[in-house]
């Protein structure tokens, strides 16, 4: 179990560092710091507590991963960070997310997630495809729940979460989520010679 979680953390680390490098380039070199990825295996009832009862507004970009291994990926930012990032991308100074800001975030989320998937693909030699991305601005719980419903979670879910922040004095943090399907996770473990999991 611990070995499995270690392995998942490592996957998260490799995927997310490729993703944030791509993001950093788009931000003209703004440095992004990755917090050590967390890998968790949660039961369905634990997920309720994990999602929480808070009504925090977030921006979420969602991409479905298909191909040799399937999964679900999301880039989730607290609303203030979403506004900051949108302003950085559009050279704007808005206090709310505009339509242009939203499409900039969608694009950046797409690039970040696609880089993550490419890193996984290079690591495993598996053919992995990202779906068309989409963005939603809503209560955090509603965004999470929609992703979990779409993943049709049964009894247990494996979740790899990487948090990033910036060392500079701006409000910018977010999460990159990778939720492999059971079969998708088994496939990745198998090609990396980790069948004992």
């Amino acid at each position: 179990m611990d070995a499995k979680l270690d392995f998942l953390r490592e996957l998260g680390n490799i995927g997310a560092s490729h993703g944030t490098t791509a993001l950093s380039k788009m931000l003209h070199g703004e440095r992004l710091t990755l917090v050590v990825p967390e890998a968790e295996m949660l039961s369905f009832s634990e997920l309720g507590n994990f999602i929480g009862e808070t009504e925090e507004i977030v921006a979420g970009v969602y991409v479905r991963m298909t191909g040799d291994a399937e999964g679900h990926m999301a880039f989730i930012l607290p609303y203030p960070s979403a506004v900051t990032l949108a302003n950085m991308l559009t050279m704007g100074s808005d206090t709310e997310l505009t339509e242009i800001g939203k499409s900039a975030l969608l694009e950046v989320g797409n690039i970040l997630i696609t880089s993550y998937i490419n890193a996984l693909s290079a690591l495993t030699n598996l053919t992995l495809y990202p779906s068309v991305p989409d963005i939603a601005i809503d209560i955090s719980a509603a965004i999470w729940q929609s992703i979990l419903v779409n993943a049709e979670i049964a009894d247990q879910v494996t979740l790899i979460k990487t948090i990033f922040t910036t060392p500079n004095k701006i409000e910018l943090s977010g999460r990159i989520i990778f939720l492999p399907t059971e079969a998708g996770f088994a496939k990745i473990a198998e090609v990396l010679g980790l069948e004992e999991f």
Binding site: F44, I137, D138, I139, Q145, L148
Partner: protein, 160 residues
């Protein structure tokens, strides 16, 4: 006043007074039953339409519409409600990400359809609903009055 939160897949029942709340309904559907005479209220937070005993054998009854509605009714009755007096209200079943829909009917829409079908089966009238669309919702049932308040981020709350 007592406020009880209803997480994904859960069913909760209150009697006399209090509030049943579910936060952040996305494609899930919140279903409430209320008996105005006995002042019994029940809420389920339905995750998917159809139970999958082979893949998810130990699921909470409230997780799937086809098991949630019968369980919701019997739990309300156990607290003193009468089936012929029960009325239902629904919220949720949205489609936050357009790219989630793999066929013509989004999962949110499938959830709404399954819940309505079950309620019809038990002849429970649906007297209020705020469903579908592309935004998340918070749903609160006030046990004493049977009023359901639905809140959407950045908008005025509505009563159904």
């Amino acid at each position: 006043m007592q406020e009880v939160f209803v997480n994904m897949g859960q069913i909760r029942v209150l009697q006399t007074s209090g509030i049943l709340t579910t936060v952040g309904l996305g494609s899930c559907v919140g279903v409430t039953l209320h008996d105005p005479v006995a002042k019994v209220g029940a809420m389920a937070h339905v995750f998917l339409a159809k139970s999958r005993p082979e893949r998810d054998p130990n699921a909470l009854p409230g997780k799937y519409a086809d098991t949630a509605i019968p369980a919701l009714i019997s739990q309300a009755i156990a607290k003193g409600a009468r089936q012929e007096r029960l009325v239902a209200k629904l919220a949720g079943g949205a489609n936050l990400f357009a790219n989630l829909a793999t066929n013509n009917l989004s999962i949110g829409a499938q959830n709404i359809e399954a819940v309505i079908q079950q309620l019809n089966l038990f002849k429970i009238p649906i007297i209020g609903k705020d469903v579908a669309g592309n935004h998340g919702r918070k749903m609160r049932l006030f046990i004493e009055s049977g009023i359901v308040v639905v809140t959407t981020a950045g908008q005025e709350s509505i009563e159904i």
